[in-house]
C-alpha cells in the first residue's frame, strides 16, 4: 500500500482528497453519504462573524460542463457554527478546514482568531475573493500588497495551519502567491471560481440575478491546472489544487502540476460520495503504478 498521507503545515491528512468549501455544507449533511474519516478533510461553507442571508434568486445556472453560482456567501455565522454545527461535526471524526472571510481586515482577523480557538477545527482557509469595503471594494485577493498585509495580520492571530484560497480573476497569480508566502501562510489553495456570466436569450435577462457569478466545474479545470503550476513554481509552501476535478486522472493532473493535495467541489453536488471514491481510486492507482508515496507525484511534471 502506497503512503497516502500528506502534510499541510502542521496538519497531517490521511490522504490528499479534500471536499471544497461551498459544496459540502458544514460536512454533517454528508455524514450519511460517505465516510468522512476516509477523506483527507472537508472545508466548511465560508464563515463570517455574523450570519449572512446571501444574494437574491436566481443564484445558480448550468453552463457547459459547469455551473455559475452567486450564493452571496450565505452562512450561519460563527456563533451558530460553534454552538450548532461543530458539536455534530466533531462526532463524525472528520478533519475540518474552516473557510472564512470578512469585509475588512479587522473582520478577517477576528473571525480567524475565533476559529483558531475552536476545538474540532483543524485548519483555516481564508477566502480572499471578497471586496474590501474599506478600500473602495477592491478584492483582497487581487492586490499583492493588501494580500500580504492581510495574511500577515491573520497569521499573527492564529496558530493552526493557515491556507489562503486564491482567486483566478487576476492577470498574474504569481505575485499573489508570493504575497501569501511572505505573509506567513502555511499553504495556498487555488483556484476559487472564475467570474462568469450567462444570458437567457429568450427573456434577455442574465441567468443569475446579480448578473455575474462564479464559474466552477470541469469547464475551468485547464485554467486551474495552469494556475496551480504557476503557484507551485513560484512558492515553496504547499499548494492545494482545485477546479473541476471529476476523476482520479483529474486529481493526478493537479498533483503532477505541483499540488500536494486537491479539493473536489462542484461534483459533490452530482455524486455526493465522490471524495471517498477518488481517495480510494488514487490509492489504488499508486499501487498499480508502483508509486510508494503519493508525495512523489507532487510537482513531477516532465518538461520536454
Amino acid at each position: 500500500m502506497a503512503n497516502m498521507k500528506v502534510r499541510i503545515g502542521s496538519l497531517e491528512l490521511a490522504n490528499p482528497v479534500i471536499a471544497a468549501s461551498g459544496t459540502f455544507g458544514y460536512g454533517v449533511e454528508f455524514a450519511d453519504k460517505l465516510d468522512l474519516r476516509k477523506i483527507g478533510a472537508f472545508a466548511t461553507k465560508g464563515l463570517s462573524l455574523k450570519k449572512r442571508a446571501g444574494n437574491p434568486m436566481p443564484r445558480i445556472c448550468e453552463t457547459p460542463s459547469g455551473m455559475i453560482n452567486s450564493i452571496g456567501l450565505e452562512n450561519v455565522g460563527l456563533d451558530a457554527f460553534e454552538s450548532e454545527k461543530l458539536p455534530l461535526i466533531r462526532k463524525t471524526g472528520a478533519r475540518v478546514v474552516a473557510n472564512f472571510f470578512g469585509e475588512t481586515q479587522g473582520e478577517y482577523v477576528a473571525a480567524a482568531a475565533r476559529l483558531d480557538a475552536m476545538d474540532g477545527v483543524h485548519a483555516l482557509e481564508m477566502n480572499v475573493s471578497c471586496p474590501n469595503v474599506e478600500k473602495g471594494g477592491i478584492e483582497f485577493g487581487s492586490d499583492p500588497v493588501l494580500l500580504e498585509k492581510l495574511t500577515a495580520s491573520v497569521r499573527k492571530a492564529v496558530r493552526k495551519p493557515l491556507i489562503v484560497k486564491l482567486s483566478p480573476n487576476v492577470a498574474d497569480v504569481r505575485p499573489l502567491a508570493m504575497a501569501v508566502q511572505n505573509g506567513g501562510a502555511d499553504a495556498i489553495s487555488a483556484i476559487n471560481t472564475l467570474k462568469g456570466m450567462s444570458i437567457n436569450v429568450r427573456t434577455r435577462e442574465p441567468k443569475i440575478r446579480r448578473v455575474f457569478g462564479g464559474l466552477s466545474g470541469p469547464a475551468i479545470r485547464p485554467v486551474a491546472v495552469r494556475m496551480v503550476y504557476e503557484c507551485a513554481t513560484t512558492v515553496k509552501i504547499p499548494i492545494i489544487g482545485l477546479g473541476g476535478i471529476t476523476t482520479v486522472e483529474d486529481a493526478l493532473e493537479f498533483l503532477i502540476a505541483g499540488a500536494t493535495a486537491v479539493q473536489v467541489g462542484t461534483m459533490n453536488f452530482v455524486e455526493p460520495s465522490i471524495c471517498e471514491r477518488l481517495a480510494d481510486e488514487l490509492s489504488k492507482w499508486c499501487d498499480a503504478e508502483g508509486i510508494a508515496d503519493v508525495n512523489d507525484l507532487v510537482g513531477s511534471l516532465k518538461l520536454g
Binding site: G22, T23, F24, G25, E29, F30, K33, K45, A53, G54, P56, M57, P58, R59, I60, C61, E62, P64, S65, G66, M67, N69, I71, E74, G217, P218, T246, T266, N268, F269, V270, P272
Partner: protein, 246 residues
Amino acid sequence: MKRKIIRHESLGGRYRSMDFEWPDDGAKPGQFVMVRISDSTDPLLRRPMSIANLEDGLMSIIYNVAGRGTSLMAEKRAGEAVDVLGPFGTSFDPPKNASHLLCVMGGVGAAPFLFLKKRNKDRKMVGFYGAANKDGLGISIPMDEMHFATEDGSVEKRGLVTDVLLEHPAMKNRDAHIMACGPKGMLRAVDEICVKHKISGELSLEERMGCGFGVCLGCAVETDAGNKRACVDGPVFKAGTIRWRT
C-alpha cells in the same frame, strides 16, 4: 444509485413518464428525486423530478421535455440504467379533518398529485388542472372531480386555473385545504387566495437546484422565517409563509 428503467413512454405532448426499479418504499407524495442525465459532465447537474408514483417496487417520474437535459433524458430506453438520488424534501400533509381537499395543478406540476391520490384513495379530492393549452394537460389523474382551464380555451374554461378554483362551492368552506404545484405565478395566486379566504394550503415550489440535499444553497426561498431551501425545507411550504418577489 443506478436503477433499471422498466418503462419509458410519451404521455402525449411533451410529457414523458419513466418507471424504474425502487425497492425501498420510503417516499411520500410531494417529495422529489434528483436524476442524473448522463455519465458525462455535460449536462452536469442532476434534475429535480417529482415522484409521480411508488408502487410494487417501481418509482415513476413524469417530466416535461423542455431543454437539452430533458431531451437527452428522453432518449433513455427501458432496460438501461438511470442514476437517481433521493427521495428528498418535504411532503404534502393534508389535515385529517379537512372538509375538502382541493388540488391545484399547473402543467407538469400535476405529477405529485398522482402519487398523492394513490396514497389517499379513500379521501375525496377535487382537481383543478390548468395549462397554456391542451398539450399541457397530459397527465391523467383519477381525482373524484376534475376541472380544467386552458389559456387558449382549447379545453373547458379559457383562463386561469385559479379562476376555476375561486368559483368552486368548496371555497366557501373554511375547513377546506388547498394543495398546489405548478408555475410560480399560479402558486403565488393560490397563496394569495389561501390568505384572503383564510383557508389552509400547501404549495410545492419548483426551483433550480444544484444538489437537492441542502448544501449548494442555490434554491433559496424567502420566507417569514428567513431564507429556506426549497430542497430540504421544501419543496412543500405552508401557504402564507412565502415572501414573493415581484
